[in-house]
């Protein structure tokens, strides 16, 4: 308890660099959020051209106003069950750190919820699961309006070398 108070105290004096605006979206029952600054646009689902012999989560490529950009299915990336795409399914186009430059990349999510304005006080670290679950692509957890949002570092989600299944890290996410 005392430790938590101290932690809160320190976040008050030094604003958490994780605070700011986030775009919230959901996959299944779980709410996630990525920084609004990384989001270029949100588009409805469109026909995705499958690129053969690529990992399953790489859905293929789409035409973004004359540019060919890759599309990742975040459910598959996180090892969650595949679902039929619906009316609410959409593609978030985010600027992701590539090998040298920022590149636009499409992310298929079940649906976009809202834009959250998170203060330092709303954000806390991922609870300690013990030893086995390193989750470097998770910035932290946001508790706002009685809901929990998992804050994602989108660069790490999409380019990270080996990705542990989020489904395993967050019980009930599947």
């Amino acid at each position: 308890m005392a430790a938590a108070l101290v932690a809160e105290e320190s976040t008050k004096t030094k604003p958490d660099e994780r605070s700011g605006k986030y775009l919230a979206f959901h996959l299944g029952a779980e709410e996630f959020a990525i920084r609004v600054l990384t989001v270029r646009e949100i588009m409805g689902l469109q026909e995705i051209t499958v690129v053969p012999q690529t990992p399953e989560y790489l859905k293929g490529v789409i035409n973004l106003r004359g540019r060919v950009i890759p599309v990742v299915d975040l459910r598959l990336r996180f090892g969650m069950a595949q679902v039929e795409y619906t009316q609410r399914t959409c593609i978030i186009v985010a600027q992701v750190q590539g090998e040298s430059d920022k590149i636009p990349m499409g992310i298929v999510v079940d649906g976009v919820s809202e834009v959250l304005n998170l203060a330092s006080a709303d954000i806390e670290d991922t609870p300690d699961f013990g030893v086995s679950l390193p989750t470097p692509f998770i910035l932290g957890m946001a508790k706002i309006k009685g809901k929990v949002n998992i804050l994602l570092d989108i660069d790490r989600v999409l380019t990270g070398q080996e990705l542990r299944s989020v489904a395993a890290a967050i019980p009930g996410a599947v």
Binding site: P52, L58, V61, G66
Partner: protein
């Protein structure tokens, strides 16, 4: 320890300068006692010696001696002035070789690099003109202007070495301009050497900018000595060969242009491509066409015209004349010709032919290679030429022209020509062909492009050509081009390279496999046919082949290669594409032929760099992305599951 002192010249240099200046002020304002002066001079002497400025030290010593002889303020101040001069002249090279100051605006430096390059290219071109025709006053002016501008820019950016070299050359050129100095081969050599040196320095600046290790640039001393040498050796003014005629008409040739970032051009291309698609959707919109409104039809066709024009203009923006590439080769030919003692005349035509700058860039090395080969192996020595009754001066031709939507490049020489028998013998020896086969001339000549043919140095001596010709062919094929050889023994060889106008656009066949559509570049397609029953055979290991016009060709099913569902797995219900890549033919099984379309090639990006068999993506007429197939990749390593 004493070694180190010569290393840290900047410290000694600053100290020295301060001392001299302080003394100068003292001498001017009051008349210091002889003893004080003596001590001060001695201090300067020892500082100079430690800093490695021998002449300054000597001058200081001379001053001390003069002091002992007769001490007059005038003599002292005159001596001091001389000392300052000597010091300055010794400081200059030391300062110049100090690391280039890059604590400047990187943008300005980048601009400098681009601009300096342009000027150096002009200088080179004009010097070659001048060498042919020393009376070309305009060329002198142009070269002078080039060095002058570089000097100005470099001075502004504190690039002292570049500034100093440019300045020295400019001084010599000024003499030439004024008719006090003749255009001699020696002069041309030195000026070109200076341009090379500047080019090297510019590259080093560029490398510094990019944060890469800069290539070592030697100090300018030797070069400056050569420049100075010019001034002292030929002081005799020219009679009138370069008459002054200081016309300043030169400004007219300044091209009106702006420099644009290529990424902006690419973006423009993308947007125009999208606009063409949007226009096409609009024009073919069923609701609009059913209206049958003449005014609407007129407006729509107007829109079509404008978008078409816009697309062509945008493409044209990326085009650059091939002249600069030819010019680079002109320089190589000149240098090689002088070095090898083979007089060669270069005949260039079609310099204004425009093609995509990407092509011009990737054409640089192959072209250089072929020109070098022509110089090295094609053109004979003057003695040999005399024996065979040819004029002593060899000829090398570089020609470019448009031909039905492609560019035709010609690299020709009037040298030895290819020896069919020798090539054939060598090829048989190396196991590239069977000895019994009857080959046409062009088939034999194509053998020099075989990788095995060029590896051994011996072979090149025998055949005359072959160093890395396989690399040349690969490069040309990468640009979707073809290369052919015409050669007559004893009369010369001509290489013909046919290239597309641009790499950005490819003519393709849209093919269907199940739900998927792919684009096969048309240049790779030899024919499309329906397999006759019984023409496809399967080996015990599962590999398939097809008998097409009496040739057994390896066969691959695209659906298996890509792991997608075909419309029909019966090969006789499908189509065969006969494809050609790297001199070999293959068959590819697809479901349908959907159409022919010109598409703009787009990179799939780093996310798909491991995907084999694909050359890129393209936006199809309906706005969807189609995948462009890579012929070699489709038949290459990919596993058939």
């Amino acid at each position: 320890m004493s070694m180190a002192s010569s290393q840290d010249t900047p410290v000694g240099e600053g100290e020295l300068r301060r001392q001299v200046e302080r003394l100068a002020v003292e001498v001017l304002t009051g008349s210091p006692a002889a003893g004080e002066l003596r001590d001060a001079f001695d201090q300067i002497r020892s500082l100079a010696q430690r800093a490695g400025f021998a002449q300054t030290a000597a001058q200081a010593l001379a001053l001390i001696e003069n002091l002992a002889a007769a001490h007059s303020p005038e003599a002292v101040s005159a001596g001091l002035a001389r000392l300052q001069q000597v010091l300055d002249s010794e400081l200059k090279p030391a300062k110049a070789s100090a690391p280039v100051a890059l604590a400047q605006d990187p943008e300005l430096l980048a601009d400098f690099v681009t601009e300096a390059r342009e000027h150096l290219a002009t200088i080179e071109r004009q010097m070659l003109i001048l060498e042919q025709n020393p009376a070309q006053v305009e060329a002198v002016h142009a070269v002078f202007r080039g060095f002058h501008t570089i000097k100005g820019l470099a001075g502004f950016l504190d690039l002292h070495t570049i500034r100093d070299v440019a300045h020295e050359v400019e001084t010599v050129l000024d003499l030439v301009r004024n008719g006090q100095f003749a255009v001699t081969p020696a002069l041309v050599d030195v000026v070109l050497a200076a341009a090379d040196y500047l080019g090297q320095s510019v590259r080093s600046v560029e490398a510094n900018l990019a944060g890469q290790p800069a290539p070592a640039v030697p100090g300018p001393e030797t070069l400056l000595a050569r420049v100075h040498g010019l001034k002292t050796t030929t002081t005799a003014p020219v009679e009138e060969s370069v008459s002054v005629a200081a016309k300043s008409s030169s400004e007219s040739e300044q091209a009106v242009s702006v420099r644009v970032d290529t990424s902006k051009l690419d973006h423009l291309m993308d947007m125009v491509g999208e606009m063409v698609i949007a226009q096409s959707l609009l024009v073919h919109d069923p609701t609009l066409t059913s209206l049958n409104n003449p005014r609407l039809q007129r407006n729509l066709s107007h829109l079509t015209r404008i978008t078409g024009e816009l697309q062509r203009t945008t493409m044209a923006v990326r085009m650059v004349p091939i002249g600069q590439l030819f010019q680079r080769n002109a320089r190589v030919i000149r240098d090689m010709s002088r070095k090898a003692g083979k007089p060669v005349e270069l005949e260039v035509s079609g310099q204004d032919t425009e093609l995509d700058r990407n092509i011009v860039q990737s054409l640089g090395d192959p072209l250089l290679h072929m020109v070098r080969n022509s110089m090295d192996h094609g053109i004979e020595s003057p003695a040999e030429r005399a024996r065979t009754g040819k004029p002593a001066t060899g000829r090398i031709r570089l020609r470019a022209s448009h031909q039905s939507g492609s560019i035709l490049l010609e690299i020709g020489d009037d040298g030895r020509g290819l020896d069919r028998e020798k090539i054939l013998r060598k090829a048989v020896e190396r196991g590239l062909v069977d000895s019994g086969r009857n080959l046409s001339d062009s088939e034999v000549f194509q053998l020099i492009f075989e990788p095995g043919f060029s590896t051994a140095e011996k072979v090149t001596d025998v055949s005359g050509r072959g160093v890395g010709m396989d690399v040349v062919r690969r490069q040309v094929q990468k640009m979707r081009g073809r290369i052919e050889i015409n050669s007559t023994l004893g009369r010369g060889t001509t290489f013909l390279i046919k290239l597309p106008l641009t790499l950005a656009i490819v003519d393709g066949l849209v093919i269907g496999v199940g739900q998927h559509r792919y684009i096969m570049p048309l240049f790779a397609v030899r024919e499309v046919l329906k397999p006759t029953p019984g023409s496809v055979h399967t080996l015990p290991n599962g590999a398939e082949m097809a008998l097409v016009r009496q040739n057994l060709l390896p066969l691959r099913r695209l659906h298996r290669r890509f792991g997608v569902q075909p419309r029909s797995s019966d090969v006789y219900q499908s189509l065969l594409l006969v494809l050609e890549g790297q001199g070999k033919c293959f068959c590819l099984v697809v479901d349908d032929l959907i159409g022919k379309q010109e598409v703009v090639i787009k990179s799939l990006g780093e996310a798909f760099k491991t995907a084999s068999g694909l050359a890129g993506g393209a936006i199809l007429g309906d706005g969807r992305v189609g995948l462009i197939l890579d012929v070699e990749g489709v038949f290459g390593t990919g596993s058939e599951s």
